[in-house]
């Protein structure tokens, strides 16, 4: 009574239908990724040259080079990482090691979650109002960096917290048992254990900063001048992403846009690979203890 032929057929249909849906969707997703990669790489190859990578745009010769954009990106990311690292790691240490008021921890964690959810265009606006206008930094890479700092604190906090939690409690007790004070214990025992986690956080943050554009439009500006670090950081400068937007959307310079897109894609490969490599290394390093 339970097993009529029509039921068996409808079960089979359901099974095949669902399996078909899954295979179709996975194939579409994979095809999409391959299409994106192939399209950008193949279209950009003809335009790659030493010149485009090592010069700045010149109206006199009518050429475009992306070197200033590359340098701007490096300045911006370096500055932001150097600032965000202590802020994020410090906050994570407070939350996991020092905090003794659960209420305050909750509020801080809620604040961090909120920061993580705010869209970049809003960071761009507030960064413009606060850093460029209120603090008087003008439109500059420094203002852009500081905006990125606030945006990326959550990533650093989260990855640091995760790796702090994997440090066995016994290490801390062992250190305390020898009469070590807390900060000493953190410096000498806890932090060295989670250096991989912190580096992973930095790479993830770098990846996000490299790809960020909306927050930089009104804070870091659009200039393509070739500067050293200290001049560069205080003046307006387009990063690779902003340059891509401007060249593609406003100026219709697709050749250089393809070159930038390919560079961004390759950087994305690299940061993804590095963070995955580190994540695997951490998993392997912690498993032997975790097995117990």
């Amino acid at each position: 009574m339970l097993n009529t032929a029509s039921n068996a057929a409808s079960r089979k249909l359901y099974k095949n239908f669902m399996r078909g849906c899954m295979l179709l969707c996975v194939s579409l997703t994979i095809a999409l990724v391959f299409f994106l990669i192939a399209y950008i790489l193949f279209r950009s190859i003809p335009y790659f040259s030493i010149d485009i990578l090592t010069t700045k745009p010149s109206y006199l010769r009518g050429t475009i080079g992306v070197l200033p954009d590359i340098l701007n990106t490096i300045y911006l990311v370096l500055t932001a990482i150097v600032i965000v690292l202590p802020l994020g790691v410090g906050a994570a240490i407070y939350l996991t090691e020092y905090a003794n008021s659960p209420k305050l921890v909750k509020v801080i964690e809620y604040a961090v979650e909120t920061l993580a959810g705010i869209p970049s265009i809003i960071y761009g606006l507030v960064g413009m109002l606060f850093f460029c206008q209120f603090l008087g930094f003008q439109t500059s890479l420094l203002a852009g960096s500081l905006t990125l700092v606030i945006m990326n604190i959550p990533i650093i906090i989260r990855t640091t917290q995760e790796s702090l939690k994997t440090v066995p409690q016994g290490y801390r007790e062992g250190s305390f048992g020898l009469g070590a004070a807390k900060f000493y214990m953190i410096r000498t025992v806890v932090l060295p254990c989670c250096i991989d986690g912190i580096v992973t956080g930095c790479i993830l943050a770098t990846g996000r900063m490299l790809g960020e554009s909306a927050a930089l439009l009104f804070t870091a500006g659009f200039a393509h001048t070739l500067n050293g670090y200290f001049d560069g950081i205080t003046s307006s400068g387009a990063t690779l992403t902003v340059a891509l937007y401007v060249y593609a959307k406003e100026q219709g310079e697709f050749e250089v846009a393809f070159v930038i897109a390919a560079i961004l894609l390759i950087l994305c490969f690299i940061t993804n690979y590095l963070s995955q490599y580190l994540a695997n290394r951490m998993r392997n390093a912690h498993n032997p203890q975790g097995q117990r």
Binding site: L2, N3, T4, S6, N7, S10, R11
Partner: protein
């Protein structure tokens, strides 16, 4: 000539071997499981009794490295390495697990899950099945007013009886129970034992247990497993009063395990 199948033999196990990869987990098992009787499988942990019971409804198929040899006939039909429909087999040979595992849905939907899967959509038929299954599992009176509640809100003992009711809802012939009371308190345990004794009238029951008193209390036949061997299989009274094998005696008198 094909061998004659005795009407009251549900499972006929002949020279059955099971390997996990290169690990030979069950060696040459021979036994018969009888209709409308309770067969208890006892033995220390790791002896293969749980592995064995999972072979009877082919749940071992889910472990990729498992390899089977020999023969197990279910009502005369070969189930080892044969192309029988395992989903139909599992419908006829129901299973209750060590840890109660109700689905995270309402009590009603838990019971109705099996019948719905097998094609029953009619609401009044489903209602009837749900009521009958819960009644058979002796839990209908406790739950009849809260069928829409989440099954996860029940106590452990209630959850386990719900799982039994869920297994009964697809009208199986056999009920496999893998240490069904090991996660429960003594009161819930005795309720389940009572229930199992009652279910014997309609179903064939195979129960794995750690607890020898439980085997004595409820089973008709007991099989003693040790390190992958079936040491002895006999009437429960015989096994516990005059075991033939020294190792069985050692185990039931508590020398090891």
């Amino acid at each position: 000539m094909t061998e004659q199948v005795k009407d009251n033999v549900i499972f006929d196990v002949k020279d059955f071997n099971l390997y996990y990869g290169s690990n030979h987990a069950l060696h040459n098992i021979n036994m018969q499981i009888y209709k409308n009787a309770i067969t208890a499988l006892i033995g220390p942990s790791g002896c293969g009794k749980s592995t064995f019971i999972k072979t009877l409804n082919r749940m071992n198929d889910l472990i990729p490295s498992v390899r089977l040899e020999g023969s197990i006939k279910y009502k005369g039909q070969e189930i080892v390495n044969s192309d029988i429909n395992v989903y139909d087999l599992r419908k006829e040979v129901g299973m209750v697990f060590q840890k109660p595992n109700p689905f995270p849905m309402s009590i009603y939907d838990n019971i109705a899950y099996g019948p719905r899967t097998h094609g029953i959509k009619n609401k009044s038929v489903l209602n009837e099945i749900v009521e009958k299954s819960l009644t058979d599992a002796a839990i209908f009176d406790e739950l009849k007013d809260r069928l829409k509640d989440s099954a996860l809100s029940l106590s452990g003992g209630q959850q386990q009886r719900l799982c039994i009711a869920r297994a009964l809802a697809v009208k199986p012939d056999v009920l496999l129970m893998d240490e069904p009371t090991s996660a429960l308190d003594p009161i819930s345990t005795s309720k389940i034992e009572e229930l199992v004794l009652k279910l014997k009238e309609e179903y064939t029951i195979v129960i794995v247990t750690h607890n020898m008193q439980q085997a004595v209390r409820i089973s008709d036949t007991t099989a003693f497993f040790l390190l992958g061997d079936l040491i002895e299989c006999d009437k429960t009274d015989t096994i516990f009063s005059e075991p033939k094998d020294k190792r069985t005696e050692d185990y039931i008198t508590g020398r090891f395990g």
